[in-house]
C-alpha cells in the first residue's frame, strides 16, 4: 500500500475535491490507493457493530453492561 497516495486521497475527500482530482495515472497502483483513500472517509458500521454488541439486549439486564 502506498500510504502517501492513500493519504492524498483522504485529504482530497476532506477538502471536497472531485474524484477526478486523482493525480496518478489510471492503471497504476497509486491511482488505486488514492481512490481507496478518497472513499475511506465514511461511516463505519462494522466498527459501530462492535460497540453495539456491548449493549445487546440479552447482555444489558445488568447495569454494568449499559453503554459500554
Amino acid at each position: 500500500m502506498d500510504s502517501s497516495a492513500f493519504d492524498q486521497g483522504v485529504a482530497a475527500a476532506t477538502d471536497g475535491l472531485p474524484a477526478s482530482a486523482n493525480p496518478y495515472a489510471d492503471g497504476t497502483a497509486e491511482h488505486e490507493h488514492w481512490i481507496d483513500g478518497y472513499h475511506s472517509v465514511v461511516d463505519h458500521p462494522e466498527d459501530i457493530e462492535e460497540r453495539g454488541d456491548v449493549l445487546a439486549p440479552t447482555k444489558a439486564a445488568s447495569p454494568e453492561n449499559l453503554s459500554g
Binding site: 483522504v10 471536497g16 475535491l17 472531485p18 472513499h39 461511516d43 453495539g52 447482555k59
Partner: protein, 280 residues
C-alpha cells in the same frame, strides 16, 4: 473503545478556539449552505447528483460512475465533476473549513489525525474532541416514553445478522436513555445537557435555532449530521446517483413529517447526541 486521547489540547489551543468560535461557526455553516446549493444547482440541471455516496462500490471508479450515468441517459463527462460524500465526511469538511478560516488548522489537523487512526472516522470521536475544546454535548430524544417501542421497531425492521446480537442501525433507545439519566454517559461520551433536547415531541426548543453550527450523531454514531440554526444538512453514502436526496436539508425534528435527521424505511433516527459550540 475511543481512540481520543484525554486532554489532547493545550490550554492555549482551547483558549484560541474559544475566541474563534464565531468565525468557525460562520464559515462551517456557510460551507454547508454552499455545498447544498451546489448540489441543488447540479441536480436541477442534470437530474443526477454531483455528490455520490462514498460507500457505493459501483461509483468508486470513473468507469463505474460513467456506466451509471449512461444507464440514466446522462453525459459521461459528468463523472469528472462528481464528488464523493458521506455523512461524517460532510461534517469533517465543514469543520475543516471553519477551523481554517479561524487560523486554527493546526487544531483541526490534530482532530483529523485522531479520526484517521485505523481509518475509523467516527462521529462519536469527533464529538469527544469538540467537547475537549469546550463544545457542549446535548442528548436528544424527542419522546423517551417511546423508547421501548422504538427498540422493538428497530429490531423488527433490521434483525441482527447471523451470529450477531446487535445491528448497528439500532438506536438502543431505552438502554442509552437509562445510561444518560443514571450516569450522564451516552456510550463513551459524557453528556453535558440531558434535558434541553429531550421530550420535545415535534416542537424542538426555539432556542436551538440560535445555534450557529452543530454536529449531531444518531444511534451511537451510525449516522452523523451537521447543521446550523435549527436545520440539519446531511449527506448519505449509499444512495443512487439519481437520488435528489444524496444531500438534504430539513429542520431538526426527528419525529415530525419532513423533519431531520431524515429516515429511510429501516433507518429511523430517534435519539443520539448533538455537539454545539456553546450552550443555547
Amino acid at each position: 473503545m475511543t481512540k481520543v486521547p484525554a486532554q489532547m489540547f493545550s490550554g492555549s489551543e482551547i483558549q484560541a478556539h474559544r475566541g474563534k468560535v464565531p468565525t468557525i461557526a460562520a464559515k462551517a455553516a456557510q460551507y454547508l449552505d454552499d455545498v447544498y446549493a451546489d448540489h441543488l444547482a447540479f441536480y436541477n440541471r442534470w437530474g443526477v447528483s454531483k455528490y455520490y455516496g462514498n460507500r457505493r462500490k459501483d461509483y468508486q471508479t470513473r468507469a463505474g460512475r460513467v456506466a451509471a450515468l449512461q444507464s440514466l441517459g446522462k453525459p459521461a463527462s459528468l463523472a469528472d465533476q462528481q464528488v464523493g460524500t458521506a455523512c461524517i465526511l460532510l461534517a469533517m469538511q465543514c469543520l475543516k473549513q471553519g477551523f481554517a478560516a479561524a487560523g486554527l488548522s493546526t487544531i483541526w489537523d490534530k482532530i483529523h489525525a485522531v479520526l484517521k487512526v485505523d481509518n475509523a472516522f467516527l462521529g462519536t470521536d469527533l464529538q469527544l474532541m469538540l467537547q475537549q475544546l469546550g463544545w457542549k454535548i446535548y442528548y436528544w430524544n424527542p419522546n423517551p416514553s417511546k423508547n421501548d417501542a422504538w427498540d422493538e421497531d428497530d429490531q423488527r425492521l433490521s434483525p441482527p445478522k447471523a451470529g450477531k446480537a446487535w445491528n448497528p442501525v439500532w438506536g438502543g433507545h431505552a438502554l442509552r436513555y437509562k445510561s444518560v439519566i443514571d450516569r450522564r454517559v451516552y456510550y463513551e461520551t459524557k453528556v453535558d445537557n440531558a434535558s434541553a433536547l429531550v421530550n420535545f415531541g415535534t416542537a424542538p426548543p426555539a432556542a436551538f435555532k440560535n445555534v450557529p453550527i452543530f454536529i449531531g450523531i444518531a444511534h451511537a454514531g451510525y449516522h452523523v449530521f451537521p447543521g446550523r440554526r435549527g436545520d440539519v444538512i446531511e449527506a448519505h453514502s449509499m444512495r443512487n446517483l439519481d437520488a435528489r436526496d444524496n444531500l438534504e436539508v430539513a429542520p431538526f425534528n426527528p419525529l415530525a413529517s419532513g423533519g431531520a435527521p431524515r429516515w429511510t424505511r429501516t433507518e429511523k433516527y430517534r435519539s443520539g447526541l448533538i455537539a454545539v459550540p456553546q450552550d443555547f
